[in-house]
C-alpha cells in the first residue's frame, strides 16, 4: 500500500530524514515513535505530499508522490490525516467540517454527504454534536470530529500525527477507542504516537525514529521486551516510566 524507498529530506543544510525505507501493507497498523524533532511528523507529510523530499521515492498504491505528473489532490483523497491540534475549520459546524470535502471534491449531493457524515458521527460516538461549532466541543470531541472528517473521503489509509498529545488525560481514551476500532476494522494506519498501550494492542509494527533515521523496528511485544539499540532502551525507559 505504502512503499518508501531510500527517502531523504533536507531543510536547507539540515537533514530531517535520512534514507528511510519502509513498506506498509494493506490493513496493517504501523506506529511510529521517537523523541520530538526526530522527523516523525515530517515523514507523514512526505507520504501525502504536503512536504516535498529531495531523494528517494514514496509510492502510495503504486503511484509515486514525487512524480511531477502525479495529481497530488487526487492522491490525498485516498489518505486521511488527523492532526495533533485537531485543525477543525472554526467557522463551520461539526457536520459542515465533515461534508466540505465530499461536497466540493467528490461532488456528492447535500443529502448523501449529510447522511454519510451522520453515520460517521455516530461511529465516533457523538451524533448529537452535528450542529456544534468546534469552539463548543471538548478536545476529545474535536479530535473525533477530525477523524470523522478524514473518514468521510473514504480513504484507504489513515495517518495520525500525535492525535492524543494535545488532549487532557481523561479524553485520550475516547479517541484511542475510535482508533482501535478502525485498526481492528481493517484500515491501513500510520500512527505517530507515544501511546504505548495502543501500540501494544493494535500495532503490526512499531518503528523507533531518532535524528531522521529509523533506529529500530519490531512487532509489539518484541519491541518492548527486547529493544536492540541503547537509544531505544533509553527512550522506552523514559516514556514507559
Amino acid at each position: 500500500m505504502i512503499e518508501i524507498r531510500d527517502m531523504s529530506k533536507w531543510y536547507g543544510d539540515f537533514q530531517v530524514l535520512s534514507r528511510i525505507n519502509e513498506v506498509i501493507h494493506r490493513g496493517q497498523t504501523v506506529v511510529v515513535c521517537g523523541p520530538s524533532g526526530s522527523g516523525k511528523s515530517t515523514l507523514l507529510r512526505c507520504i501525502n505530499g504536503l512536504e516535498p523530499f529531495q531523494e528517494g521515492e514514496v509510492l502510495v498504491d503504486g503511484v509515486s508522490v514525487s512524480d511531477p505528473s502525479t495529481n497530488l489532490y487526487k492522491l490525498r483523497q485516498k489518505i486521511g490525516m488527523v492532526f495533533q491540534r485537531f485543525e477543525l475549520y472554526p467557522h463551520m459546524t461539526a457536520l459542515q467540517n465533515i461534508t466540505l470535502a465530499p461536497l466540493k471534491v467528490k461532488k456528492k449531493t447535500r443529502e448523501e454527504a449529510g447522511k454519510k457524515a451522520m453515520e460517521l458521527l455516530a461511529r465516533v460516538g457523538i451524533p448529537d454534536k452535528a450542529d456544534s461549532f468546534p469552539a463548543n466541543l471538548s478536545g476529545g470531541q474535536q479530535q473525533r470530529v477530525a477523524i470523522a472528517r478524514a473518514l468521510a473521503m473514504e480513504p484507504e489509509v489513515m495517518m495520525f500525527d500525535e492525535p492524543t498529545s494535545a488532549l487532557d488525560p481523561e479524553m485520550i481514551k475516547e479517541v484511542l477507542d475510535v482508533m482501535i476500532n478502525l485498526a481492528k476494522g481493517g484500515m491501513t494506519m500510520v500512527v505517530v504516537s507515544h501511546e504505548m498501550g495502543f501500540a501494544r494492542e493494535v500495532a503490526d509494527e512499531i518503528i523507533f525514529m531518532d535524528e531522521g533515521k529509523i533506529i529500530e523496528r519490531g512487532t509489539g511485544e518484541e519491541f518492548f521486551k527486547n529493544p536492540k539499540s541503547e537509544r531505544t532502551k533509553d527512550f522506552l525507559s523514559k516514556i514507559l516510566i
Partner: protein
C-alpha cells in the same frame, strides 16, 4: 498591500515592506500636506484639495489596512490549511472555503476600528482648506458665533456614527471569542 507583505517573492516583499514602514512612521497630516503642496511642483499644476485629500488617505490608510490583512491571513495556521489539503481540497478550494473566510472573520473587528479612525481623521483634511464637516462648521461659526452649539453638534455627529461602528465591531469580537 497585505498580500505583498506575506509574499515569498523578494522583489514584491521588500518594496512593499519599505513602503509600509515609511508611511506608517509619518503622521497623516504630513502626508496630506506633502501631497497638496509638493505634488503640484512635480506634476506642474495645482491640485484641488478634494482629490489631493482622497489620494493622501488612500496612500496612508492602505498601509494600515494592509497590515490588518497580513495579520488576518497569517493567523490561519499552516496545519489548518494542510488539513484542508489532506482531504483532497485543491489550492483554490482551500483558499475560497478556508483561508479567506476564516481570515476575514478574524480581521473584521480591526477593519471596523480602523475605518472609524479613518472617518475621524477626515477632519484633518481641514488643513488644506477642504470643506469637510469641521471646516464647514468653522465657516458657519464665523458667521453666527455660536461655537459651543455648533462644535457640540459636530462632536455629537462624530460620536453617534463612531459609537455605532464600535458596537458592530464589538459584536464581531464576541463572536471571535467563541473560537474564530
Amino acid at each position: 498591500m497585505g498580500l505583498g507583505r506575506i509574499s515569498k517573492k523578494k522583489w514584491i516583499y521588500y518594496p512593499v515592506t519599505f513602503y509600509v514602514n515609511l508611511i506608517r512612521n509619518i503622521p497623516l497630516i504630513l502626508v496630506i500636506f506633502w501631497f497638496y503642496f509638493v505634488m503640484p511642483i512635480i506634476v506642474g499644476r495645482p491640485m484641488d484639495p478634494f482629490p489631493s485629500a482622497v489620494i493622501s488617505f488612500i496612500v496612508f490608510e492602505a498601509t494600515y489596512f494592509g497590515e490588518i490583512l497580513r495579520a488576518g491571513f497569517q493567523s490561519v495556521s499552516r496545519d489548518l490549511i494542510q488539513a484542508g489539503y489532506s482531504t483532497g481540497l485543491t489550492y483554490w478550494q482551500t483558499t475560497r472555503y478556508l483561508l479567506v473566510p476564516i481570515a476575514f472573520r478574524r480581521m473584521l473587528p480591526s477593519m471596523i476600528t480602523q475605518s472609524i479612525v479613518t472617518y475621524q481623521d477626515t477632519s484633518l483634511a481641514f488643513v488644506i482648506g477642504l470643506p469637510e464637516l469641521v471646516r464647514r462648521t468653522a465657516i458657519v461659526d464665523g458667521l453666527e458665533v455660536r461655537s459651543i452649539q455648533l462644535f457640540g453638534f459636530v462632536a455629537v455627529v462624530f460620536f453617534i456614527t463612531c459609537y455605532l461602528g464600535s458596537i458592530v465591531s464589538r459584536r464581531f469580537e464576541v463572536q471571535r471569542e467563541r473560537g474564530f
